[in-house]
């Protein structure tokens, strides 16, 4: 059983956060080991397993990026050790930004950090614009393999931006 089935939700990149939380809380109650202390050992361990499954499901589905990763894994689009190649243009751009970051690390410059921050925000938006319609309209039975491939490319490119953003946040924290 996958996490979407467990929560009786359609496989979708876009979920209502409140609803996911509600499903999690319902199942937390339903499978809570405290309610089964007088049951047989086998049932106790089953409930414990379901509780753990529930925690994992909530972790995976409650966040947009993790949910995207989960769906892509479910659909065998991403796997560990796969050497996925992004376009050279994109890598070049990321190289340039990372080099800019290195310079900022050596010499702190608030104005430059702010410029970079804006640039990265713009890139996040542009990136999502490219796939937003595919992501939002995704339906398991309707969407194609090529749709998933585009989302996969987005997923990997976003990782670069997230990492850059993380560095920028670290700078901000130290300034």
């Amino acid at each position: 059983m996958n996490y979407f089935e467990f929560y009786e939700l359609p496989v979708s990149f876009i979920l209502d956060a409140q609803e996911v939380k509600r499903k999690f809380l319902e199942r937390s109650k339903k499978y809570h080991p405290d309610f089964f202390v007088n049951e047989e050992a086998q049932q106790q361990s089953e409930m414990l397993e379901l509780s753990t499954f529930n925690t994992r499901a909530y972790h995976a589905l409650s966040d947009f990026d993790r949910r995207m990763q989960y769906i892509l894994e479910m659909k065998n689009q991403v796997s560990e050790g796969e050497r996925y190649e992004l376009s050279p243009d994109f890598l070049m751009e990321m190289m340039d930004i990372n080099e800019g970051l290195m310079e900022l690390k050596a010499q702190h410059d608030s104005a430059k950090i702010e410029t970079l921050r804006k640039q990265v925000r713009g890139l996040f938006d542009d990136l999502y614009q490219e796939v937003s319609s595919i992501v939002e309209a995704y339906r398991e039975e309707v969407s194609t393999e090529s749709d998933l491939k585009k989302i996969k490319d987005y997923y990997y490119r976003k990782k670069y931006l997230l990492r850059i953003q993380q560095s920028l946040d670290t700078f901000a924290a130290h300034s």
Binding site: L91, E99, M102
Partner: protein
């Protein structure tokens, strides 16, 4: 498996970090990404056109220790090699380098 001293040395004091002038016609630039961790590496070589030999090699990466160490090692190795010789280098050579178990 623990990292060997040689790998640690390349990680702590990487050699050949930097940039070659890519506007030069005898400088070649390669870029490769590691999308799982949002990392990118650039490796450049400068070739002597007369002898078809690599006279300089530089790299830059923002990645993890093993990426830094193996790139540092690779650039060391590339320098002074002929292009034909260098073309035979593959990642297993780095892994199998004596006393360099990554």
């Amino acid at each position: 498996m623990a990292y060997s001293e040689k790998v640690l040395e390349h990680y702590e004091h990487p050699k050949n970090v930097g940039t070659l002038d890519k506007s030069k016609t005898n400088v070649g630039t390669g870029l490769v990404g590691a999308p799982e961790c949002g990392d990118v590496m650039r490796l450049q070589i400068e070739v002597d056109p007369a002898t078809q030999t690599i006279i300089d090699a530089k790299f830059k990466t923002f990645g993890c220790g093993s990426a830094i160490a193996s790139a540092s090692l690779a650039t060391e190795w590339l320098k002074g090699r002929s292009l034909d010789d260098a073309a035979t280098l593959d990642n297993m050579d780095i892994v199998e380098e004596p006393s360099c178990l990554l």
